[in-house]
Symmetry: D3
Subunit: 130 residues, 6 copies
């Protein structure tokens, strides 16, 4: 494993935000593309996520908008619904963000994201929400 | 023009958030699909944007994540970079949100969004940012 | 559950077109985002699907083109292949529509849609088609 | 130019459906990728468009759903809004199809498609529609 | 099954490149859309893949870039990671191509592709890579 | 401007591959998001493009597949058609790669990419190709 400031800072960020789910992703790259995992940590978390210009909570709102509307990113959205909870977004706010994104990318993208959130909320004992 | 609560509430929201840019979009639908404009006002703004669960500033963070990562939505992003400024996001925060979204959807989507923001910032006399 | 014209009209439309599959989607939102389900019924079905300007059969042709080409919407396509059959499109016409959409969005999107249709046709005892 | 049944049949289809706009696309490929133009004629029109299983009008409904929801296909949508008019869809039905697709792919995709249709309708003297 | 040069040539190409995985796809279309399978063989493999202008190895690099960045094409990517190995790309080169594509389409698309490659590599006894 | 190995290495790579077009992109970020430009240089070129595992020519094949199939990336594709020529791909091979990608993402994405290549080829006096 690399020993540099960006990696160390990134790994601390990844732990604080994505928690176990983020580490699992990096670990599962170990036998095929460890450098890809390193780039995610260094660039994604050590560079971008570590910037002070936007609070962790704000970054997860952007992330939810992004992953919901791209489609086909359910595994990553699962990690980031957990991340969103970890940095203080409430389940109701996450639901609200997904609904909001669906105005821009349509009901199917919104539904797929909502059912991913539902799975995470269920695992964390947060359902029913209403 | 329809006279109902959702439309009235939506139009007020549209004015407050998207401002002139939003009205131009609705107006330009008048001779081809006025009902489509009405739905955008009623559902988009009267229903979703009017919900109390997420602050206007938060909604624009989700919107920027969504529009940046979908690609091909530069005209809508232009409206919403203006909207983001209108509801209190600083230019630096908007730049930060676009950079953050690019981690998820790649540099080309990020660049297209950034140059759209640059155009809006230039029109509003906000450049150089740094 | 809301009691208004748009919702009532939308629910009737949803029942007539999407049938059980559509209701399952709305029901599965009950414990996380019932308002999202309500919007799908009110706006999607009460507003748009209820418009007289395009026959139900025509709307499902547009829907199949849309969902096939977006990608990542297999769960929604499953509901709407059923819907297409419910409003009178034949299995052969549905296959034809998916093949046609693949000219525009490529073979992978076409294949994913075709195998979704195959699953629905198998469940309804409609295979082999040829 | 190739001389085979698929090409001859495809060119006749292209002329009947896409008209001048379709020929311009093929012609503009002549000095860079004539074979790509030939494949569009042979496979797209000689094979798929020539199949009897779906009427020309139905095929344009699928096409509009597909191109609206993919995003970034405004030049192709311009050709196919013309094509849709050529095969008997009314301007109002085209508007309706775009609005319908927007339920699935969101307002931005719908707006971009609507303004493309507006451009075509204006060129053909069909505005105002309402 | 059709008997023409394009089909014969395409089937030979499909066998040489995609191998068993490609044939399975075509076979699974037999009871629902055999013509769709025929088009994939004739146009995809008999026309495009048979062109001398780009080596098989080069074509799989383009394919990996394409399928990784579109998203939602994991089943097709699975076939083509196998195809890439069949035409002489090493596992390390495939990993490299996916990482490269992720610069353009973001980490989530890259991760989904990487885990698809990992599945194929595991099935072929090629792990650990490093 | 930062002074570190990754940036220096990346800038040299960017110059060698993307040439003037790449520098223009980075320069145009200077007054709005210089750090975004720095990340493109450091991560995109200093990290990924500098890896020995895939030749520059191979990387541009992946890039063309990626950008063609994503859609809405015409400005970036313009830079990278130039880059492809710079690293030794012939115009005919670039055309071939775009045609190949169109099998996976459909004719509209292929056409938009082809017309972008045509613009670059014209600027460099490379037309007609055939």
């Amino acid at each position: 494993m690399p020993d540099n400031d960006r990696f160390t800072r990134g790994l601390a960020r990844l732990s604080a935000i994505d928690g176990e789910g983020g580490h699992k992703v990096i670990d599962s790259l170990a036998d095929i593309a460890p450098d890809f995992g390193r780039y995610i940590v260094e660039f994604g978390f050590g560079d971008v996520y570590s910037r002070p210009g936007l609070a962790p909570r704000d970054r997860q709102l952007v992330t939810i908008g992004s992953l919901t509307s791209m489609g086909g990113c359910e595994p990553q959205l699962e990690v980031h619904v957990n991340a969103a909870l970890n940095v203080g977004l409430t389940p109701a706010e996450i639901v609200e963000a997904i609904m909001h994104a669906a105005v821009y990318s349509g009901f199917p993208r919104g539904l797929n994201a909502m059912f991913t959130a539902k799975k995470v909320f269920a695992e964390r004992g947060l359902l029913p929400l209403v």
